[in-house]
C-alpha cells in the first residue's frame, strides 16, 4: 500500500512510520505545519509545532530512508480547530481540541488530500488498535465485507481511542495505527532507539499545541478580549468577579478567585456558565452530579443494539467522558436527533445519543465534551455532550 505517515517530530509517529516501512508499505513522511507563526525551538511540553519539531521529523524520515514533505495546513487548522475552540468556550462549553484536530485535520484535511494524491492510508502514532473482523459468510457462501473496529490500546495509560472515536468508520477504513499493539511507551522508545531514531528520548507532549505554556485562560483572553462580569452563587448572590465567563468550565474549582469563603465553609465549584448574561454560577459539589447525558452529532462504528436509531431501547455499555478518565457503566440509546431533558428530540436528522448512568453519578460533565461509548475495549461511537442533568 501507499501509506502517508503523519510525522509530528515525536517518538510515537517516528516509530509508527518505521513500522509501516517494515511492514512493506511504500511510505512517505509528511509533517503538518499547523501554526502560522512557528517558533524556532520547542518549548514547554508542546511537542509538534515548532520548526525544531519539523527538523526532528525530517531526520527520522532520513533515517528510515523515506521521502519527507511539510504540508501547510495552518489555515485549515485555524479555521476549524482554533475557531471551534474559541467559539465553544465563548458559548460556555468545554471543547476538546485534540478531538477536533483528529476530526478536521488528521482524518479529514490530511486524509482527503492524501487520498486525492493516490495514498491508500494515513498512518499515525496514536495508541489505539484496529481490529478487522470478517463478516459472516452470506447465504450463497460469498464472504461479506470485513468490518474494521476501533479498540483501546493495551497501553491503558496512553490509550487514545477516546480522541479518535470522532473519525467514524469511513475514515477508519483508511487509517493505520502501527503502535496499536504496544503495551508501554518504554517499548516504543526502545524500538526508536533500536532503529537509531534520535527522537527516542524526546519528552512526551501533553499540552494543547497552540496554547503557549498551557495557559488556556490567557490564550482565550488574548483572542476573545476581556469581558468582566459577575460570579454568583446558586441563590443569585454576587460572590465575585471575573474577566470573561468563557474562561470557566463546569466542574472547575481552582482559580475562581473568590475572596470570601462560602457561608457553610464548603468548597465551591463552577456549576454553570451563562454566556448570555456573562455570569459564572458557583455552588457545592453535589450540584455537579449527573446521571443523564444527552449528546449531538453521534458517530457510530457499531450501534449499541440492532434496532434503528430512535426506537428507544436501552443497551448496556461504558462511557468515557474525558481523555484520561475511567470508563463508567451506562445504558445508552441511539437517537434520531439531539435528545432533550423532556424526552423530545430536536435536530434536522443529525443523530444523537442518550446516556443514563447505572452506578454512581458522574461529576463535572460539561457541554462540549466528547462522550465516547465503549463495550469492553471496543469503541461503539461518540457524540458531543449538549446537556447533563440529574434525572
Amino acid at each position: 500500500m501507499r501509506v502517508l505517515a503523519a510525522m509530528s517530530g515525536g517518538v510515537d509517529s517516528a516509530v509508527a512510520a518505521a513500522l509501516a516501512v517494515e511492514a512493506g508499505h511504500d511510505v512517505v513522511g509528511v509533517h503538518m505545519a499547523l501554526s502560522r507563526n512557528r517558533d524556532q525551538f520547542r518549548t514547554g511540553s508542546r511537542g509538534c509545532c515548532s520548526i525544531e519539531d519539523a527538523g526532528d521529523a525530517r531526520r527520522a524520515a532520513d533515517v528510515l530512508g523515506i521521502p519527507y514533505y511539510v504540508w501547510d495546513l495552518s489555515e485549515r487548522f485555524e479555521e476549524t480547530v482554533v475557531a471551534d475552540f474559541l467559539s465553544e468556550y465563548e458559548a460556555g462549553r468545554t471543547p476538546n481540541p485534540c478531538v477536533r484536530c483528529n476530526e478536521h485535520i488528521k482524518f479529514e484535511a490530511l486524509l482527503d488530500k492524501a487520498t486525492a494524491l493516490g495514498f491508500d492510508a494515513v498512518a499515525t502514532g496514536h495508541y489505539a488498535r484496529v481490529v478487522t473482523r470478517a463478516a459472516s459468510a452470506g447465504p450463497d457462501g460469498a464472504d461479506g465485507t470485513a468490518t474494521r473496529e476501533l479498540h483501546r490500546s493495551p497501553n491503558t495509560e496512553k490509550d487514545q481511542s477516546y480522541v479518535l472515536a470522532v473519525m467514524g468508520p469511513d475514515r477508519l477504513a483508511r487509517a493505520m495505527f502501527p503502535l496499536g499493539g504496544f503495551a508501554s511507551k518504554a517499548e516504543v522508545r526502545a524500538e526508536a532507539e533500536r532503529r537509531g531514531l534520535s527522537v527516542s528520548a524526546k519528552p512526551d507532549s501533553y499540552d494543547i499545541c497552540f496554547v503557549a505554556d498551557g495557559d488556556t485562560r490567557g490564550f482565550l483572553r488574548d483572542r476573545l478580549g476581556s469581558r468582566p462580569g459577575e460570579v454568583r452563587d446558586v441563590e443569585g448572590n454576587v460572590v465575585g468577579e471575573h474577566d470573561g465567563a468563557y474562561a470557566y468550565t463546569v466542574g472547575q474549582r481552582k482559580g475562581l478567585g473568590l475572596g470570601r469563603p462560602a457561608a457553610d465553609g464548603r468548597a465551591r465549584y463552577v456549576v454553570d456558565v451563562q454566556t448570555s448574561t456573562n455570569t459564572v454560577v458557583v455552588g457545592p459539589a453535589e450540584l455537579l452530579s449527573v446521571d443523564r447525558i444527552a449528546g449531538e452529532d453521534a458517530v457510530w462504528f457499531e450501534r449499541p443494539g440492532p434496532e434503528p436509531a430512535g426506537s428507544g431501547a436501552w443497551h448496556d455499555a461504558e462511557l468515557q467522558i474525558r481523555a484520561h478518565g475511567a470508563p463508567v457503566p451506562v445504558q445508552v440509546r441511539a437517537t434520531a436527533g439531539t435528545p432533550a431533558r423532556d424526552g423530545s428530540v430536536s435536530g434536522d436528522g443529525v443523530p444523537g445519543l442518550e446516556l443514563r448512568l447505572v452506578g454512581t453519578p458522574l461529576r463535572g460533565v460539561a457541554a462540549g465534551q466528547s462522550a465516547v461509548v465503549y463495550r469492553g475495549t471496543q469503541v461503539l461511537g461518540q457524540a458531543t455532550v449538549t446537556d447533563a442533568w440529574r434525572g
Partner: protein, 437 residues
Amino acid sequence: MSARTSGVREFVDWVIVTTPSPAPDAGAEVPEGAYLDHAATTPMSPAALAAFVAEAGRPGNASSLHSAGRSARRTVEESRESVAAALGARPSEVIFTAGGTEADNLAIKGIFWGRRRTDARRTRVLVSAVEHHAVLDPAFWLAGHAGAEITLLPVDGDGRLDLAALRAELAAHADEVALVSVMWANNEVGTVQPVRDVVRLAHQHGIPVHTDAVQAVGQVEVDFAASGVDAMTVTGHKVGGPVGVGALLARRDLPIEAVLHGGGQERGVRSGTLDMPAIRAFAVALAEAVASHPQRAAQLAALRDALVAGVRRVAPEAVLRGPDPSRFVDGVPARLPANAHFTFPGAEGDSLLYLLDSAGVQASTGSACQAGVPQPSHVLLAMGVPEADARGALRFSLGTTSQAADVDRLVAALPQVVDRARAAGLVSGRALTGGVG
C-alpha cells in the same frame, strides 16, 4: 522505490566494510531521474571538482608569510584575476565571500553604512519588488535596526522593473537615496532586468547601483565594467563551482563598510581566512561557464523551449509566467535561457512537487520556504498574479547536465501529476470554504 532501496543497501554494505561506525549518510538517497532544479544548485563541473580536491589537500593559509602561505596566496590571486577577467572587472574589485547571500548582505548593509557615513541624510534604499530574500531581508533589517527607508520598486506583468517608477522615485528623493539594488535576472521567472537603464538613471544623481547577478552569470553575458554597476554579487554553485563561495565585485571608489570584522582580509571589508580550494574551484567553474557561454546558452534555450512546448502540449491550462522566451530586449534575451516557470490553475505547488518527485522529476515551487512550507511567491504577487494562482507555481531550471530525456520524463509524468494535484486542490479548496463543522 525498489531500485533505490537496493542501491542504498549496496552503499551501506560498502560503508560498513570501510568504517566501523555507521556512516552519517547511510540512508542518503542517491538522486536519480530528471533533475530540473539547477537554479537552486547545479552539480560541480569535473574540472572544478578536480581543482577543489587538488587544492584541499594542500596546506597553507593565504595570509601566512611562509612558503606554504605564499603558495596559497598565489592560488587565490590567480583565481581573483581569473574571476575578474571572466566578469569584466579588475582583480582589485573582487571581494571573495562565502557565497551570494553574504555578498548581498555586504552590498546592501556595507554600501548603506558607507554612504551614510559621508552623508547622514542618505537613508533610502531602493530595491525591486522581485529581489531575492538575500537582498530584501538585509534591506528590511536596516529598516528595523538602522533607520533605513525601503522603497520596493514595482515590476510589470513579466516581472521587469518599471523604469518610470524608478525615475520618479529618484527625482523625488535623489538627495536621500543611499543605493539602488536591482537584480540582473530573477531567480524564479528568469526575467532579465534593464540594469544598464537603472545605472543610467541612478548615476544621473550620483547614486550607486548594486546588482545580484547570481542567476545571470553563465546564461547571459555579464560584464561588470560595461554594465556600469558599482557592485555585483556572484556565486560559485550556480555555475558549476562549490557551494559556499562567491564574490562581491565592488568599484574601488565605492564607500563600503565591513560586515564581518576580524583579520582584515579582502581590503578590510571581509575578514576571514580565504577559502583557497573553494576560490580556486569557483574560478575554474566560472571561467568554463563564461568561455562556453554562447553554445551553452543556445543549448539551454533549445531544451527550455522544448520543455515549454511539451508542458503546453500536455497541460494546456498551465500559464507560463515571466517573459516570452523568444523575446529579446536590446539584443539580450528577455528571459534566462535555462528558466521555465508555470502556474497550474487549481493545483497547489507542494502537491505538484511531491507528485513529480515520486515520478522521478525534481523541480521547485520557485519561492522561498520556511522549514519546508512554500510561501506564496512575492515575485508572482509583485507581477500581479492572484494569490490563489501563485500557490500553484512550479519552476523548471536547466543546467549543463540536462538532457532531452529529462524533459521527456517531465512531459510524460505531467498529465497524471496535474490531474491528481488538481483533485487534491479541490479537496483543500472545499475544505477551506467549508467553514467550521
